[in-house]
Amino acid sequence: MTENGQNRGYIARDRDRQPDAYTPGYKTSVKRSPQAALLSFPTTLSEETSPVFGHGLIGKLDNDLIHNYAKPGESAIGPRIIVYGRLLDETGRGVPGALLEFWQANAGGRYRHKKEGYIAPLDPNFGGCGRLITGEDGSYEFRTIQPGPYPWPNGPNEWRPAHIHFSVFGHGFAQRLITQMYFEGDPLIPLCPIVGVLKSQQAIDDLTAPLDMNRTLPMDARAYKFDIVLRGRRQTYFENRREGL
């Protein structure tokens, strides 16, 4: 698009907010981090477009990890929780119709994966993955069990805080993001080298979901709120208001 067009491209990524590629405290990054500077260009159509995922893709139990892998009449073991929030962009607008995929360990900290050797047992009724498409205002919600912390071979005694992995699509491939959600009050958060790649306490806080007693369902499931922010598009005069204003 030209200068007069509607499309002004995506706001540049704030690299001060994002982890560096080379973070020796997280050992695997040492040989997997590009060493040359990234080459910067403004976004083009190739980054401003993105695949379309229809609501028809999503099955009834896809956003219910307690049941989506369980035998009929059974359910996954562990503390039942609801994770909810909004997918927003940097201009504060909700991002509707976006695909969110999430995966996690079971309540004992064990992933259902061939290469996973942790002694904690598998839960036969827990697969560990789910997906959904965000609503009109970018909101989302899913049910799961609270994952357990787990040990991993980085240092001699390293443990990941409980976390849920998120893969997020927006409306432009420039917004593509994978991140992790942590739980308020987890004492392992400040000890973790993967959390440690984040550059500020603010960045850690932005990935830490608070317990929300107002959304918690009595006698059923506690609720945690997790908003996710994707890169924003440069706005034109007519669109530079926050949604709802």
């Binding site: 030209t2 491209g9 704030d14 907010r17 994002q18 982890p19 590629a21 973070t23 997280y26 695997t28 990054s29 040492v30 040989k31 997997r32 981090s33 590009p34 040359a36 990234l38 080459l39 910067s40 260009f41 403004p42 976004t43 083009t44 159509l45 190739s46 477009t49 993105s50 695949p51 379309v52 099955g59 989506n68 892998y69 940097e90 201009t91 504060g92 995929e101 995966w103 992933y111 259902r112 994966h113 061939k114 697969g127 993955c129 992995h165 893969s167 409306h171 491939f173 593509r176 993001l177 994978i178 790649v197 984040l198 960045a203 932005d206 990935l207 922010v229 994707l230 924003g232 926050r242």
Partner: protein, 205 residues
Amino acid sequence: MVQKLEYLKESPSQTAGPYVHIGCMPNFSGIEIYGGSDLGRSMKTGPVKGEEITVTGIVHDGMGTPLRDAMIEIWQADAAGLYASANETRGKADPNFTGWGRSPGDPETGEFVFETVKPGRVPFRDGRLMAPHATLWIVARGINIGLQTRMYFEDEAEANAEDPILTRIEHQSRVPTLLARKTGEGAYRFDIHLQGPDETIFFDF
């Protein structure tokens, strides 16, 4: 003090970790769910227009070792240069081509595979045509933020020579890291190096 700008900040990225396939390709990782099919395994939903091609490659770390736990995504225009995107305004893309694919590295060799079509040319911001290319996005354990690169085609020398991005790369000796080699009829090879003398150019779009 001045007025406040009310922008939010992009959520920080965290590594996809070693089990990204559980979330993004669960059936590949052995979790039978979602009716047995993983998103992005096929980029074609019927007969497609244009030249059908197969792209294979391996992502190597700084020691030259193949990554066997990576996930690679591809996003590209159809043969006419149109994106199958809700915000494509220039026309309607091939309805049988999604333009988006996802491949795990092979658990033994690390090789990724995309059965796709040769993309058409897409305009740059100023209207000049870019050379045919696909966007690749690479995540894996040890990668803190998804790496974005582009795959161009070695046999598109004329288009490459006028591509607004390729021609503006300062170290022209690195441009070949962005070129897929033709290895046979409809077959291209695109290896990616995260580090070392052949380090692939990664972008900050």
